[in-house]
Amino acid sequence: MVRTADPTNLSTYEPILLRHVGVPEARTLEGYRARGGYKAAEKALTQMSADDVIDEVKRANLRGRGGAGFPAGVKWSFLPKDRTVTYLCVNADESEPPTFSNRVLMENDPHALIEGTIIAGYATRATTAYIYMRGEFWEQFHIVQKAIDEAYAAGILGKDIFGSGYGLNVYIHRGGGAYVCGEETGLIESIEGKRGWPRIKPPFPAIEGLFRKPTVVNNVETLCNVPHIIERGADWFLGIGPEGSSGPKLFCISGPVKKPGCYEWAMDISLRELIEDPRFGGGMRDGKKVKAVFPGGISMGVVTGDELDMKMNFTDPAKFGLLGLGTAAAVVVDDSIDIRTVIRNVARFFSHESCGQCTQCREGTSWMFKMTDRLAGNLGRREDLDLLAEVSGNMGMMPGMSICGLSDGAAFAIKTVIKKFRSELEECIARENPEAVKIALEVVN
């Protein structure tokens, strides 16, 4: 089996995470087991110690797929040695526009998620795992719940799994339409039955998380990688993709491309390939041109149509002024779309989703929305661009001003648009009715 993706020969990559897409039988326990499912979990629980599992995952350098890219094995090893209760939370909140890879995984391979959860639970000595699923995942809830029910009935969940003495309960906890609950401590608060206000860190969840107990939060895609690492070993995993960005990865592509969807590859493809290659996006529709792309979810920021050679890995995005790889979900803006409506749309998202605890995030995001709203309404002023740059430059965890990363996302989304599309924005403003400038001042201030 060829495992190393060769971008010049796109036929060589066999899907691993998406291998059950279009195989409806694999959704059932029987079908999943018939395809080798739960072998990895059985191996981990009966032949390996918890520390062996952590070491293997650490050695594979499995970096979190939820956005931050923190190595999963390292996170697991932060748990205090003398703990008695540990919780595992699976982050299936998936609310970052335009990300849908966790949805595709849960719809097509619910047992793979359960298997990953069992192995991670065993490694972290958790006896309860909560899958935090966004409230709007209705179909997905029923699919995953059915898989859980099947697993319980077969003794794969509950007490003494595979005769190993290890037991795990898995519950789905449904959210209520709040992006900030995807942030790990917001998620924890939400499971506790509170509003999803992120907590100040430290203490990090590994020390004090859910119900004040040591807790690990991992993304769905991260956990779906774990069974393969256990089954085939860390070296296999390290052999896929470039150094520092190893393993299979899901990429989402949406917007005016011919084949929007979720695709799997190693992290050695470029954004251009993701958009244009017939195996992925298949190129732009109706002869449209790429004006801009948000390549990692909107929080990571924007690249222009001239920056499509960016590699979709953990290191390259920073070279293009982005916050990171994020969720590796790209949305394309074509040349017929006014950049002002784009920045307004993005600003609205963050002002709507800010939880309101931190002043610069609460006020800053709504201020940015007001400014971009009037910009899009032909009432923009030149100074607004400087003001937007200033406001977005002064928010976020990175300048040390907020509790969670939502405001960093807001900052990067806005400031990269201002920086990279400044001339277009200035042209739009110049084109407008000069009288509008006066009206704007009255309306907004």
Partner: protein, 190 residues
Amino acid sequence: MSWKVIDRNAAPDKAEAPVLTDALVEKIRVFLPRYETKRAALLPALHVVQDHFGYVSWQAMQELAELLEINASDVFDVVTFYTYFWTHPRGEKVVTVCRSTACAFMGADSVLDECKKVLGIGEHETTADGKFSLQTEECLATCDHAPCLYVNERCHKHVKPEDVRRIIEDPNNAKLDIERSTLFDGVKGA
């Protein structure tokens, strides 16, 4: 959803008798052993209540508070934080248009305009006959199907403005042929 100011004294949800029937309370109790605290069962409880009534009334919040041994204000606090929960009655079917990036770039605005025209209501309003409410939401994680229009739980994919009338008039527009877990029955009419 909390965008409307409601006069609680005139609110139609003032009830003399409890609104949470024994059956509903039983459904909620199923969730209690899952968590270390009773309070943690609040979100599942709210889902159960909203699935049943279509919204979470003030009366229901007070009864939930009692059941979970927390303050009613705590329940109110949570209900109003999460945009998923409605604090006032909504239409039998909720039409939701995604307004985030992928859908917006693929024409969600004109889909929304068409919905307003066909239903004769604005965003966050309910038709006089109580059949439909209209709302917009941020990304619903179905961006590959953009622009998306949901009728209750059902996602209509790649919707064009000219499809809207047909979708809204279709009596089966919210029907989802899926196997359901009994934990949550789902939105009425789904």
